[in-house]
Structures are given as C-alpha cells and as structure tokens.
Symmetry: D2
Subunit: 342 residues, 4 copies
C-alpha cells in the first residue's frame, strides 16, 4: 500500500511521534510506502505531497510540531475540495489510504469523506483532551506538564510578595488542562468552563488560603467566565473558524480580585508555550503506539475508524463516536479537585 | 476517625502527593485526624508517630521522597511485630485505620494483617509498574521521563563519536521502564527480563542501525541477562531482602558488544536519579487521586482493599488481586516496540 | 556579631541561596548570629524579625523566592523610617550589621543610610542584569534559561503553522534578557529599549527569515517601543514606584506585523514565570558566593560597600558605583547579536 | 576566504552553537565560505570535508553533540599527518584558514601546526573547565546544571531512606564540575583531585551532617582518590590516549563509607549524561560569541591565537597561553565551598 499522512489543526506535542510510528510500522511490518501531505487537508486537496522514506522520520519523535506542516483548511471546501475531487487526487497520486491526524473538525471531515467512500483512518489529536472516544490524547500530558512547571515557578513569586497569583492555561471549551495542572500544583481555586462559579466564590477560596498564611493561587482555563457574566465574544476577535478568541480572562479578573480581596494580584497567561516543544515521554509513547495502530487499521481497511486509548490498550473505534461528543470534565472530577481549594 | 499513614519500601516520586491527598480529603470531607508512622512499618511496629495536621502537608505534592521516611521493615517480624502487637499499638495510639503505601511486599503484609482483623487500606507503589491490579502506579511516569531525558542526552554523544551507547535503567524483574523509555527515545534495541534475547540478536540490531548511519542506542533493564547466561547472583551481593542485587549489566555487556561489533561502546547506569526528585504532573495527579480515594475507602471500612487506576477511574480492588501476580511486559507490547529496533 | 538580613524589591531566583551562604559562612567562620527582617525594609523599619539559625536555611538554596518575604517599602519614609529611627531599632534589637539584598533602589537606600552612619553591606539583585558595578547578577541566568526554553517551545509552533512568533520577555529599561535569550534561541530579530528600531526594520528581518523558509521569531523586551512611537505610559498604569507599567508590547505589535508582512503572527508574554522557581546551578553558585562574601565584608566593617562579580572573582565595591549607573546593552553586543537576524 | 572548521575530542554541549556562530558571522559580515572537516583532525588529515552553507547550520545551536562528528585523531601522526601534508591538503581543497575547536590536546596540535606556518585559529573546548586562558569554557555550565539537577533528585532518596548518597561527577584531573555542582546542591562533602582528603575527614563530614539530622550528600570528582591511596591505574583500563580511565571512585568508596559510618550508603555515577544534549542558554550564548570571534580572528589572520572569555568580553590570546597550564581549583575556592561541608 501507498499511504498518505496529514496533520491538521493546531500543533500538538507528539505529532511527529505519530508520523514516525506509522511510517516505521508500515515499512517494517507491512512493506507499505508513505507520503506526507503538506499542511493538513490543504496538501491533500492540492495534491502537495512529500516522500516519507524511513530516514525522513529519523529522530523526530522528540521534536515538537509537525514535519508535515499544518493548516486549518476544510477538505470539503474550495474548487479542489470535496470527496469526488479528493478521490481523483488520490488516484492520480497513487495513494491507497489516508491517515488523518487531527481534532474534532478533522475527524468530522474524515468521517464525511469515508461516508463518501474514501479510505481514511483517523488519529485523534486534541491538546485539550476533549475527545470522548479515547481516555487521553497525546499532547495533553505535555501541556499539563509545561503548565505545572510554570505554575510551580509562579508560586514562589506569590509567596515572596504575599500576592495572589492567577495562571491562565489553555482550555476554551473544557477545563482538563486547568484541572490537572491545578491539582498537580496545589491551586487554591480551579476555574473551568464546565463549572458555574461566581466571583464571590473565588474570593472566598482566595481569602481562605490567605487566612491560612498561603499565597493564593488561582488556575483558570481561558474559556471560563464568572457566573452571571456574558461570554465576552468581542475580547480578542475570532479565530480562523470564526470562533471567538477568548483568552485574557486571567488579566481581566486580576484587578477585580485585587479590589475584592485587598490582595495584590497578578495574572500570567501561559499561552503558546503549552503546545510546542519536546513532548513528554508519556506523549511520545502514546503517540508512537497510536501511529502504529493507525497503520494496522489501514492495512485491514478499517476506513472510518480512529485509534483510541482505553486503559493501557489501543483500540479502534468508529469515527462517529469521536465526533459530536465533547468530553467535559465531569462533576465528580471537579468535586475531587475542589477538596484542595481554599 | 484517626488515621495513620505509612510509606514503605523504596522511595518513589508521588509519595508525598498521596499523603497530601489523603490528609486534605480526610480533614475537609470527613473530619478525620491524621498521624504519620515514621519509616514505614517500623513506625507502626514501634509506635513512632508524628502528627499530620493540615499545614504539615502544605506544598509537599511536588517534593520527591516521603516526609514520613521509609524502611524495609517487615511488620510481622521482631518482638513488637505481628497482628496482635500491632493491634495493641494501634489501640494504645488511638488509631482507627491505617493507610499503607507500598509495593508488593508491603501490600502482602497489609493483606496478612487485615486477614488477622486489622483495619488497613493499601495504596500501590512501585516505580517499576509491576503490579497487576492497576493500570499504572505513580512514580513510574516520572522514572520513564527522567530516563528518557537522560537517554536523549546520551544520543548526541553517540552520534558525535559514532559510538554505540548503552543506557541501563531500573527494572530488576520487569522491563516497563526500559520499554517506555526505549520507545520514547527511539532505542535500536530494548532488553528486558521478560524476553530471552541472545547477544547475537543484540549485535544484529546494533549493526543494522549502524549500517543505516545511526549511532546505535541500546536500552537495557538492570535485570536482563543475555539468553543462555546464568543469573549473575554474585554481581553486587544481595539487598535487604536477600534478593540478588543485579545492576551493572550495561557495563558488563559494553566490552562484549564492542568486541562483537567493532564499534566503540559506552554504558551509562542511570541509577538512583530515576526515583528521586520532583514528580511529573501526571504522577502528582495520580498520586493525589489515589490518596483521596484511600481515605474514602477507609471511611467506608473497606479493609483489605487497595485503590487502583483503571482507565481514568480510581477503583477499589482486593489486596489479594495485587499480591502474587507480577505484571510483566506482555509479548505484544514487546513486539510493538520491536518494530523500532535495528 | 548579630547580623540582620533583608531581601527587598521584586523576587529573584537565588535570594535564598544568598541567605544560606551568608548564614552558614557567618556561623561557621565567624561565629555570628543571624536574624531576618520580614518583607525587606519594612521588617527593618518596623522591627519585625525572625531568627535565622543554621537549620532555618537547610536546603533552601534551590528554592525560588525568599524565605524572608519582600516588599517595596522605602526605608527613609514613614513614621519609623529614616536613619535615626533605624539606628534606634537596630540598637533595640541588638543588631550590629545589616546585609541588604536588593536592586538599585535598595542599594541607593543602603548608601543613604550608611552615609548617615548605619552599618550596612549590600548584595546586588536585579534579574534584568542592569547594575553596572558587577559582571552579572544572580537571577539573570535563570531568567534567560527559562525564557530560552519557552522560546524553544514557541519555535515548533511557528514552524508547524508557518507563523511569525513574538516572545515578549522581561526588560523594562534594558534588553539583557532579550539579548541573551534571543541569541540562545536563534531569534531573527531582537528588540530592546536601548536600540531605536523601526517597524520597517522589523518587517525586513521577518521577511528575510520568511524568504529563507524559516518561521520568523521575534524576541522583544517589554520596554521596547518602535522608533518614532511615544512611550505608552498609559498601557498598564503605574507600578508601586509610580513607574509606568509597560508590558504588552508583543501583543501590541503582533497585529501590526501581521498586516505589514501578511504572515499570521502570534505573541506570547512570558511574564512572571521568568522570575520564580528553582534557580539554575549558575545562579545558586553565584548567589552562595555573594552571600558568603557579604558576611566577610560585614565582619571587616566595610559599610557602604557591596559584593560584586568580576570575571571569576567576588570583590567589594563602593555602593556609589552601583547606584545611578544603569548598565545598558552596549552597541557592540547588539551588533554582535544582529549578525543572527533576518 | 574559504574556512574549514573542525571539532575534536570529547563532545561538549555548545559545539554546534560555535559552528553556527562562525558560519553566520563569516557569511554575513565577511562574505566567507565554509566547509566542515569530518570527525576532527581526521577529516583535515584525510581531506574529508562537507560544505557548510547557511542552511546547514539552521537551528543547530540548541542541539547537543557536533554535526561535524569528532574523533581523537592526532594531526601530526599517520602517513597523511604533519604540517607539510596538511598544508598540501588545504591547498588542494582551496582552504585558507582552519578553525579548530577542541581541548588542550587539540590546541597543542594547533599551536604546533601554526608554528609550522599553518593558518589556524583555536576555540577552547573543555567540559571540565580546566583551561587557564579563559574564565569559562562552553559546555561546563551545562555539565554543572545537569549534575546539579541529578543530585537534587538523589537528595530526596537519601532523605527518605536516611542514607548517605554519593554522586560521582566528571573531572579526571580537576574538580570544577564537582565544586560547582556540589555548592549548588548543598553537598556535605566535595572531593576533588586537587585536594588531599583522607577517608577519615570524609567520615567526619558525613557524620556531622548525620548528627544534624541530614541525609549526607557527597559529591566526588571521578579523578579523586583518598589521601594515602595510590592512583588505581588498573580500575578501568586506559582511554584512547593511553591515559588511565578512572571512574568508579564513587562505587569504590561507598562500601568503605558504609562500614566506617554505619550509614547505608549508595553511589551513583552520572556518566555521559553530563556531556550530551541540549546546552544551557549560558553555553549557547558563550559558544555563539566564541564562534563569531574566531571568524573575526581568522579574518585578521591572527594565526596561533584562540578566543577566550574574560569577564564579559571575548578576547584573543596566544595558543601558548592555553597549552600546558591546566587550571586547577584554587585553594581559596575550595575553602569557600568547604564552609558548606559537614
């Protein structure tokens, strides 16, 4: 088989490890041949490919980003998009199967295309860990680790200056990164989109930590808004998909919190450092295994499925399971973390 | 309730996070009171305890080691050991329940004592990840991360000098650390106790990597021996339990490999750095959750159980499940990794 | 002698190592006794002290922040401030000498007080490295290291998305952190307060990198403004000393740059993570040596001096040398770095 | 000019940053052209070169090792070695100047060849920091940082188990890495080749720390031997230059110390991880500056000189200054560190 690989959407530590796992497994176990589509669906739609011989994936599992490039191109739009055109492109390029590595939008696109008969296998990718059909996704562990290390650093500043420190982490729609980084770093409050929490409640947690002699630490997901406030659609405009760019919630509540508590308060937005650079060993192993399993799935012609982690096993699940169901932080996981608050 | 906590056996990143999770959960959700036994079972047997008020666990989740100290004392030996004496000691100290954090030996001791009627809940601890009743144990992720970072460093030396590098990691009886660190770092051979591999096979993998222009990298678990060789019982004497101290396998095969391949070969034994210091965020979260769940189990009187990770959930399982069954690396996981060899 | 130590101004990795170095050297070599003033000059002015026996400095050299707390209190203001009151306070507390660890403001205060006869020795502290009387100050190396690691992470995102990435680092008045972190991470443009650079010039560097197939990386110090633009006094109000809080320059120029270059552009402000947490080994060694030397200076009665690094040696220099002369990045150092631009 | 670069001897973090600095400076400021000799002097002697265009040094400053490869070949030996043959080789290859990056042996070879009229500029490279003609050499800071982080990890194991921990670091002839890593990590004893210290003295330091309730930490350079003992020439044979391979001193004294103190004692040899992998920001900046300065020196025809760090400046010094004088840890630096002992 001749298999094409693409990486789509925001970059994520572990993408290269998926590519390496797929290519090595495919070459050594199945005798496949590989090409990469440049910049996600764009490369597929436009037929822009690069060869992926064995030596091209040498040593890349520890590199952040993706050697294939990425974009937010929608495969069903544009003059060359849509299932019919893509089928022709694949035929022209002599490509028998596509491994599409991407998030919910990518997997939805893959499902639509497989419904139309195209030979595609998915690999779930979301740094936010918000895909329901898999226990964890690669990149999430690295993001949590980076955020935790950064928050560890913020703590010492808070303690030396008797300040309240706010750390804003990624998480537009779900609070997994905030939940894990907050638990790991001992946050006195964790604020996530799934939970309606009022500023009064935040003040209470902050003041309780303060009364115990601690420098209060608040970890907030970028998509959280105080209960009762409207979603600030305008704050930073919209992203490439027309979705509101939130962000800035940490900076926005810092002066409020300072006024309400009387404590000097500083916010730091961790931003893009959470999604780049060297992946953790956990993510490298997970990504490598997912990459290998995706080739096995392609070899078996399991079109319309994606690979998934369940416990310690890699399984195949239907793409329809992955799409449409965002995995939110359940109430019991938030309650569990809330024991540490205040 | 008044609950006593002990940490037993080799130290492990995350022990303090377990303690913190248990104490905070117990105080805030159940109104329990906590003491710590000093140095594992020794503190319990000798009634050597320290108070564990809330502020004593402040900020400890990111500290390596254990604030309680540890030892390899067997609770059933010595003049003050055994279920009857320990029952008296607990009564004298007014302690209603014991949370025992430890590995297979500790959990076996806990099971024997609960069989004799003592109120004990277990928390599994093994840096080697060799307990069958849980998907992963805290400390393992940190060990793999440290080993992977160290091996990443060794690679550049190997490549600059065109050398074969051997990294010896922990794993006396099982090869989980070697398997994961080897996959993460792109090893050309991974040698683990579960797999009979001859030196000829190792040479073949090394030479294949060399022919492709790579500096061969071999990751070996300390408990591996080449197929056909006897277990070198004498190499480093025995440990506190009379078990042979292996170690040194990397140094031992380096000159053999150099002679057989003609490639300059260097071994590094990572040693104790794999088990100390700041835990990864993954381990801090897992350990915190296990600590919390252990208190819930104690509150419900689930004596003779231990807390366990299954997928993303923390469950209670009987101690008998944890004891006696060592979790070895299964064949399919080794085969999966072996795709990367050579 | 009975010596009081204070840490003043913004926190800085290495403060605790200075304290440890001073206390151990004083106790072991000179038989001194130590107290710490809480929260900088405030503790001295208000007579708020804590004992600093040997065990209080145990293991603190690797802790970020300061165990003494810090503030921006001016020792010459307030009802209890000024040389006369402080002299009385010291006499009342039985304190023979003060070691004041702080930045330019602190050292200026220390000089005024020693001019009025008080027994004070200074230890220079500025994370920005802007003190002229010493080659480097502790904390700077840690800040550069953290910034460099973060920028390494940003690069992979830039390269995967073909974006221009902007990293804003600390440096309100001087560009040392930007210069070093930019050189270390291979920035295509480094923008510092000392250098008048127009947006046109920045665009040229960015486009040159882009034409060579690179993802452009811009490192900007928070105090830089494009040539021709006014200092944005209003951007974030003023700090405790009434100085304008700049910051936000990265976010501010990102859309401009995106419009001028046609390249998607993202900014990240590294913020407080640059000044907290575990110090580098370099800073721990430097800080320990400075702490030790400050006690030697106090033992010799070298009031009005501060300790200073020159080459590999620790010297004593007059406080007047340290005060008033801000150490800017010289033209030749910028020219040297500029070879890497574009 | 057409300039050839070589890297010789043991690998060292920062080598690639030197190469990048030289190539970019040479191309952009002087219009030079660059080639690399493969594997140190071997590539020069055998005329084995690779082109070094600008894009070949892209992004390499953070890579450990050397893209040119290295070896311990002596340029004055063999059928093609010696000044006359090398002159012919350079002429044949059209190379006008050589930048030789290496340690004492390399620089001595470079001096001999320049004495014979060859156009060579040196860049000092020694991870051990034992070259007298420069304040610091690149690679040293990274080695100290890695060793310090590893020792931080060992501490928590020591404290949990009430053990004495021994960390063996690099330093065959000088103790700079041990001195700095020991000061940074708060060692209770630092043992270096420059200092005659008896086992009795070590025991005293260890027991003093133990009496104060600490887990004793000993940092030992690989080249140290207890006072009164002979140099163990046989321990690990000899290296490529016929010098005895020491190493193993930590493992060797651990049982002695255990017997003498009654404390469980464990040794870890950090080994090759100290010299590989990503350089610190400090080393990247220093190496980049040295590389640039070496090209400036070549452009001026300063043959027989090497570049050197003095304070914050990069200077040129004669190679004869660098050769023959090993920079040992001076007594006052050891005394300074010894304040922390016990």
């Amino acid at each position: 088989m001749r298999i094409g690989i693409l990486t789509s959407g925001g970059d994520c530590p572990g993408l290269n490890a998926v590519i390496r796992g797929a290519v090595l497994k495919g070459i050594k176990s199945h005798g496949h041949e590989f090409v990469g589509f440049r910049d996600g669906w764009r490369g597929l739609v436009e037929g822009d490919v690069m060869d992926l011989p064995r030596h091209s994936v040498r040593g890349i599992s520890k590199q952040g980003g993706t050697i294939l490039g990425t974009s937010r191109t929608n495969p069903c739009e544009g003059p060359n998009g849509g299932a019919r055109n893509i089928r022709d492109t694949l035929a022209y390029l002599g490509i028998d199967a596509v491994i599409a590595i991407g998030g919910e939008g990518t997997l939805a696109g893959a499902r639509d295309l497989t419904d139309a008969g195209l030979p595609i296998v998915g690999v779930p990718k979301t740094i936010d860990n918000d895909l329901d059909a898999t226990d964890y996704t690669f990149g999430f562990d690295t993001a949590v680790q980076i955020a935790t290390e950064a928050i560890d650093r913020l703590r010492t500043t808070g303690e030396s200056h008797h300040r309240c420190m706010i750390a804003e982490v990624m998480g537009r729609n779900v609070g997994w990164i905030a939940l894990h980084a907050g638990m790991a770093s001992g946050a006195h409050a964790i604020l996530i989109p799934e939970q309606q929490v009022s500023m009064d409640m935040v003040v209470e947690w902050v003041m309780e930590a303060h009364r115990r002699g601690r420098a209060p630490l608040v970890v907030v997901a970028e998509g959280w808004v105080p209960a009762g406030e409207e979603l600030p659609h305008s704050v930073r405009g919209t992203d490439a998909f027309g979705r509101p760019r939130l962000g800035g919630i940490g900076e926005r509540i810092a002066p409020q919190l300072e006024q309400l508590t009387g404590l000097e308060t500083r916010a730091t937005t961790l931003g893009h450092i959470q999604r780049g650079g060297v992946p953790t060993a956990y993510d490298r192993v997970l990504a490598t295994r997912l990459g290998m399993a995706s080739v096995d799935a392609a070899s078996k012609g399991l079109w319309g499925t994606m690979v998934s982690l369940r416990g310690t096993e890699i399984l195949n699940v239907g793409l329809e399971e992955a799409v449409g169901n965002i995995k939110k932080v359940p109430q019991e996981r938030y309650d569990e973390a809330a024991v540490l608050f205040g």
